[in-house]
Symmetry: C2
Subunit: 742 residues, 2 copies
Amino acid sequence: MRKLAFVTVLSCSCFFSNAQTKTLSGCSESSAKQQFAAEEKFDSYLKAENVDHLIKDMSARPHHVGSPGGKAVADYIYNKFKSWGYDVQMETFYVLFPTPKSRLLEMTAPTKFKASLMEKILSEDATSNQTAEQLPPYNCWSADGDVTSELVFVNYGLPEDYDYLNRLGIDVKGKIVIAKYGRSWRGIKPKVAQEHGAIGCIIYSDPKDDGYYQGDVYPKGAYKNDYGVQRGSVMDMPIYPGDPLTPGYGSTKDAKRLDRKDATNLLKIPVLPISYHDAEPLLRSLEGPVAPDDWRGALPFTYHIGPGKSTVHLKLEFNWDTKPINNIIAKMPGSERPDEWVIRGNHHDAWVNGAGDPISGQAAMMEEARAISELAKTGWKPKRTLVFCAWDGEEPSLMGSTEWCEQHAEELQQKTVAYINSDGNGRGFFGVGGSHALEGFINEVGRDVNDPETGISVLDRVRQAEIVGSAGTKRKELMNKKTISIEALGSGSDFSGFLQHLGIPSFNLGFGGEDPGGEYHSIYDSYDDYRRFKDPTFIYGVVLAKTAGRTALRLADAEALPFDFKSLYKTLNGYASEVIALADQMRESTSLENQLIKEKYYTNTIDTAEKLLPPSPKDEVPFLNFSSLQNAMNTLEKSTNHLSDALAKGKLDGAKQDEVNKALYRAEQKLLTENGLPRRGWYKHAIYAPGFYTGYGVKTLPGIREAIEQRNWKEAQDQIEIDANVIKNFSDYLDGITKTIQ
Amino acid sequence: MRKLAFVTVLSCSCFFSNAQTKTLSGCSESSAKQQFAAEEKFDSYLKAENVDHLIKDMSARPHHVGSPGGKAVADYIYNKFKSWGYDVQMETFYVLFPTPKSRLLEMTAPTKFKASLMEKILSEDATSNQTAEQLPPYNCWSADGDVTSELVFVNYGLPEDYDYLNRLGIDVKGKIVIAKYGRSWRGIKPKVAQEHGAIGCIIYSDPKDDGYYQGDVYPKGAYKNDYGVQRGSVMDMPIYPGDPLTPGYGSTKDAKRLDRKDATNLLKIPVLPISYHDAEPLLRSLEGPVAPDDWRGALPFTYHIGPGKSTVHLKLEFNWDTKPINNIIAKMPGSERPDEWVIRGNHHDAWVNGAGDPISGQAAMMEEARAISELAKTGWKPKRTLVFCAWDGEEPSLMGSTEWCEQHAEELQQKTVAYINSDGNGRGFFGVGGSHALEGFINEVGRDVNDPETGISVLDRVRQAEIVGSAGTKRKELMNKKTISIEALGSGSDFSGFLQHLGIPSFNLGFGGEDPGGEYHSIYDSYDDYRRFKDPTFIYGVVLAKTAGRTALRLADAEALPFDFKSLYKTLNGYASEVIALADQMRESTSLENQLIKEKYYTNTIDTAEKLLPPSPKDEVPFLNFSSLQNAMNTLEKSTNHLSDALAKGKLDGAKQDEVNKALYRAEQKLLTENGLPRRGWYKHAIYAPGFYTGYGVKTLPGIREAIEQRNWKEAQDQIEIDANVIKNFSDYLDGITKTIQ
């Protein structure tokens, strides 16, 4: 019922002023009115020029983990929160953090070439000359290594690329591979290379992906110039994030640490990121088959797969130091429910100056916090406690947030209503991922924030963009839907610990899409770049503050927390249908493909000049027993309907409302599995996880889906039972809430 | 019934020797046996080394229209056919043929650059140095012109590219445009540019399409090097082909000729093709918006649309001479039905040396003719007359075949059973387009020729390739189909006059797909290129001879001609469904798109920094009355069923069989419309025509389809009635044959 009313309101709001009819989930009409009034004031305090100054200040120096600039930024944030009247703590963990000691990449014979491994200082970019404080281009968590071998080009370095190499009879065992950035989280590339026996991995940015092919290069335009390099982590975070030496617990000063060789998420081979200036001679030297269409980039020659006549030498050494990381935790206590927390977070550490990543998001969060402190001066207080977190150590492996989550796990699971994350931010469209029981709620937030470029709501703008970008029946379908679907969360920012390890309802919010460029994790992610290409008027910093601020304020003040498990059911049921269909499709396509292989269709039709082998036959896909999952979904549908009906009956008395609220925000914890995912138990959420072979990219119902994708039928069946059981218990839990209400 | 039997046989032939069970449409078991025996002998006479020598001889010099080399090739062919005992004629027409007098392309200010307009002599290519006899790179039928203006990049120069320029507010009126080769027949590009007010047109080969992006460049590999240029015609052949001054009749010595300015298929603006070496400075000089993804090529810079600061000067002058073209017509008279002709043709003129285009096809046809003459020495005679045609003047505008068809229209419509065309040929897969009443027949031909690389039939090989290249339900569907569908014919070779002007059943046959490269219409389409990259052992020349030879021999000897109008009905009914669906889809998408435009979805979601205008609303699509077409299709289904049943009853007596055969091969003429297509009445076939805006690309049911695509609803309705009427009359005609049989 709540959902329907919401839809009606939204469609009305397109045509009429929405001031009179607008409702708010979890609020009575009068408290909604109060809430809107507070938000109006909140908005009035937000200033783009403050966002500008915050970004300029915090991106003035390189400020990676353990650097003087990093400590300065932490202190800056601490002092700001303090000055705004927050109860602030700097909470420090001590983590492993490797930095380069020496880097060498060269071609030795017959062609001689030594890679520059440097980014260019530009007079148009004021901070590009801070070479003394910059971390040089490197991949954090690369192994030390000194390897010399032939080179093979592996496209984006994904499992399917190696399948193709197999068909060419090219083995990377004992060789160095060169992969393009893109299509997966970067850490997947060396991991898959290592799985295939490669002894070293080079990752480069092809100009097709974020260089001149996409647009004019920096400093003329926003895209990557020939010397730009993307730094970044290559830890195997799909195993577990955080300090690799303290899996599952906080890396406090005295915590017990693993021996580095026992950390299962660290690579054994050296990995180095390079520019396309440095990649060009390497790629030009390759011989062997011409790379297929999808492998080719925008450099002006024919891409060959290799190897060539030339030998490549890669030598990397790192300082494996322990460094302090400083999380800033700033609280504004709740007036009615101080032990219920709404947590808002954004990291502050960068690879270099990080004006975009993460400072644009950090600045927006701080302006939001400042505006809330102004609001508090007017007598308004949040009913629940607001907790602002500025995380350190996100870039290497989400360390600040992960260690904090691990350290305070129990308290967080008790108290946290939701975690609201942001990261780099820019001009463009509302982007939101998160827990699907809050999908209706976040649609209401998007409804109430206006886009500064168009004057329509940020919700309508992104919804309209999806429609404009679609075609055919999909377009028609989207036109009939007045809300947006939120994305499931994989990884790539600080929500991971909250959502996937602790089962705390989470959001990841941001704006972008009109701010493309090639500065990511390079020295050119600077204030000069940001103000020219990302958000020149800093207004989208304000928009993010409005959006995340409303999200926090509404959750802090809601009488009845706006969880809608019918919405979760609907989404989850879609995922269940997907995994069932996936198994069916794979069964059919495997059977057909095996037949074609057996009957020599490939052998008969492959160009003999190309020397491509037929694909290898795959094991046939058995019928899996999905009945327990299907039955669990049926049960869940009933449970969510009952709960929804019960909640719709209206206001509960204080104590009961309190009990129900607590039960509602803790519900997502019931979706955790006891042992977590196979071979990566840190990830406990049954619905959401980063993909083992995608990294950032989410896998929903990951236990089942990845077992099917990896053709592990026994495990798939086990995971079906595990997830069915979780869903069944979750339904029981919801039935318990329904009983409480009745 | 015939069809079913055929399917069974085919699926058997995969597992057993097909020698015992193989049948032949239109032949009794005993005559099939004779036929197979003759074909076996025929095969034994075919020699790859002859194909080699023929290609080498005929590509030894440039031999374009009117050149000494062209006359030498015509004489060579004449003498060969003569020596093989054919009754040979050289039939000469006199046609307009412009060649360059002067060519100039330069950037004048502020950047200075003068285009080389030359291809490089290569020591690896023995004929590349024949500069005295080579036509320099040019587009035949460009207007004379001397224009100076700003330059605008128009992608592939198609109507939709100008729609996008409109959205950018970029007008090409009074400007010179530069377009990429590809995606359409080249003549469409200047035609559309001229329609939009451009005063000049440059066409270049982007390395993404056939240069280094695709593979190593000539002479290392087969792809286009930086100096390679594609010559070619830009006459508006979708209006009419042939000599532009004699539309609809033969350009004999004394024929009345139009004034050149009255020829409706000639351009008014100058057009010049250039290499990517020459295009690079021009494209680099452009400013303005960044070209969208689909517009970008493989040159190493950001593609902008323009204009830039630089001014481009294009000056072209041509010699508008009348030249003789020499068709060689070689006949072997039929022993039983000399007045029924099976015509086989391939052109002999080239843009330069033309080893691939057209000599590889010409050589295969000549080897086929020689083998048939050997067969004739054994006592075998064709029952119907075989006519071999070596066409001149195909490259400028299909002149040899068109003028011949126009000159002998009535006789050809009386006598011709079918026309079998080929053109350039190479290593790879069987390709066949043509009249759908002969689809079953040509599948039988493909079944009986073996592919030399794999030993399976050329039919199975291409069928398997389609299956390997498909996925999902499409793959499953194709697996269940044991035959291949043949393509509908658009234009681009000498079948046009026969099929689309005269309604004579036609085929276009060839092999390719394992012979890609960038030599097309350049000096590098040479013997050296051909023997290295196209068909190194010349065996696919033999395979084409086997295939086209069987096609000709079986049609020449069939007791009952193997036309199957049920097959035509099925295909045509598919086209009818397509045009009905097209109107429905356009109605729905137009309505939705107009709504989005009106409700400002585009305005709201376009990046303001990009200055892209919303699309313009389009007129809504009315419901068209398709009932007459649908009723005509119902009638046709019945008529084709009845005829098929009648034909299946078995052998007719001699005179009746003769009458029925004649009626069958003339049936396709009943599919001609009286006035032809709107604004291009030369094209009379109701089912097949080259697209007005695609050039080579076919449009089926072109009158209806193009009227809908061009949103001309009144004309669409008129064309529905015209085509319905044609189909109705065609059904009546088939009913007449059925009656004759009964």
